[in-house]
Amino acid sequence: MIRISTLALVLSCAMVNAGPQLRVTPVMHQTAAYYSSSCVTVAGMGFGGGVQMVYGKNLVAQTDANILWANGNAFSTRFALGVHREGCWQPAVFGTFDLLWGQRTEVLTAAGRRPATPVWAIGMRATPLRFNGSYGYASALELGYGIAPDQGMMLEVTILSGGIRW
């Protein structure tokens, strides 16, 4: 998963040397996430923003940061790398690596230690309702599922996401 995040970062930073086949789109979205393990519960609804990069015809990567409210003020940093269909309707599937920071409910160890920060999850995200146009894209109901240490799992729903290119 570190390699995935590294690759996402490499792609985002490669903007400087972007060739003709790399398209970079700033994105914003509404999102909700629920992370639960035997040590930590993070949850909330909120919004965020980031960058989506399409390389060539089918390769797509996205990195974004989000704030989540419901169980304190939590933050997520998401890295995703995937493939999408060509055309106007561009459903995509991503492999994801998420980091969660900020406030959460913690279960201590028997020795009284607090769980580490941040917590992370690795998983998949499907974006079946993703549409591309000349000036950007729009996507609704993106569904993600991840697994995490300590019998953890993560669910995320991006309700609406969009980006504009210029």
């Binding site: 930073c13 639960s36 035997s38 519960t41 949850a43 169980n71 409910t105 279960v107 201590l108 607090r114």
Partner: protein, 331 residues
């Protein structure tokens, strides 16, 4: 190369943020206080309270709606007020009744103090509520008994801080007794608190423990939950570490986010510590998780025979040790 460095930040940050163990220096002396808890003293208090509660009149329930888990018109407290007052007095404390409010729902809070030696103006509050539905063995005679036995045990020792033992009234009516107590300014000198609500019911069967609002807990209900918020995180860590390390009791610690007043942590606010949390005063909440474990919660079946005396004794020992360490027991 520069880009590789950016990618390396993520695993480095995960590693560098691993937390350290809490400081439990001085726990050895605190355990000596715990050793003064007498197991045989606990259940008789609960049986006496159950007996007098059965004969007691009910608190006027005007303004409260009766529901399955909140039989508002079956709340009693008068006999418990009398018994708890007499219990503190018999141990040599000066017990005071602080009446707050007006009319039939006046709250009668009982307080008894053990003065600190070097910093008597700093008060550690040790509290449980004395009102109960029906016989109220677990809810909340178990915690009242632990309060009384801890009060008896600490008198053999001296502490830097004052320990204020309290039995709050009308917790079941929305923490009326404690809310009025703090709003009237009586708690201005409280620097830390331990509040208990139901600490005597255990089950050793699998799946006897339900999760609380999605928080994963062990599936056997054989532990005491020690709940803190961000302000009392260190207290929570210390009590859990001490209790488990010295085998005083089986403790599971939870830290709620922020002040605890968020949607997913509201279940952790259900007792007299809530106002302390909102006001930023470090407070621990000890519980057997109430209806998330005990099927007798707020029912006529909440009787002494359903409690686990050994579990209650262990929890009382952990309480006494925590009181000792937070009131700064002196060697």
């Amino acid at each position: 190369m520069k880009l590789l460095h950016i990618g390396a930040i993520v695993p480095f940050f995960i590693l560098c943020c691993s937390p350290s163990a809490p400081d439990i220096n001085g726990a050895g002396v605190a355990v000596e206080v715990a050793d003064d808890v007498v197991t045989a003293n606990l259940m008789p208090w609960i049986e006496k309270l159950a007996a007098v509660r059965m004969m007691d009149t009910h608190v006027n329930c005007e303004g409260f709606k009766e529901e399955e888990l909140f039989p508002a018109c079956d709340l009693n407290r008068d006999a418990a007020v009398k018994l708890v007052t007499e219990a503190f007095t018999s141990m040599g404390f000066k017990a005071d009744t602080i009446a707050l409010g007006e009319g039939p729902q006046t709250a009668y809070n009982i307080t008894a103090e053990y003065p600190g030696t070097t910093r008597p103006d700093e008060v550690l509050l040790v509290a449980s509520h004395l009102d109960a539905y029906y016989t109220g063995a677990d809810d909340n005679s178990s915690a009242v008994a632990a309060t009384l036995e801890t009060a008896r045990a600490v008198r053999k020792h001296s502490f830097a801080r004052t320990i204020r033992f309290m039995a709050f009234d009308l917790e079941e009516f929305g923490c009326l007794g404690s809310t009025r107590y703090f709003e009237a300014g009586h708690g201005h000198d409280v620097v830390a608190a331990i509040v208990m609500d139901m600490i005597g019911y255990a089950s050793y069967k699998s799946n006897s423990q339900k999760s609380i609002m999605g928080i994963k807990l062990p599936d056997k209900g054989d532990f005491l939950l020690v709940i803190g918020n961000e302000a009392s995180a260190t207290m929570t860590q210390r009590m859990v570490a001490m209790g488990n390390t010295f085998d005083l009791a089986k403790l599971v610690g939870i830290i709620a986010p922020g002040d605890g007043g968020y949607f997913l942590s509201m279940a952790f606010m259900r007792s007299d510590h809530g106002l302390l949390w909102y006001n930023g005063i470090p407070a621990l909440f000890l519980t057997d998780t109430a209806n998330f474990r005990n099927p007798n919660y707020h029912k006529t079946t909440d009787i002494p025979a359903t409690l686990d005396p050994d579990f209650l004794a262990s929890n009382t020992r952990a309480l006494a040790a925590a009181v000792a360490i937070f009131a700064e027991v002196q060697k």
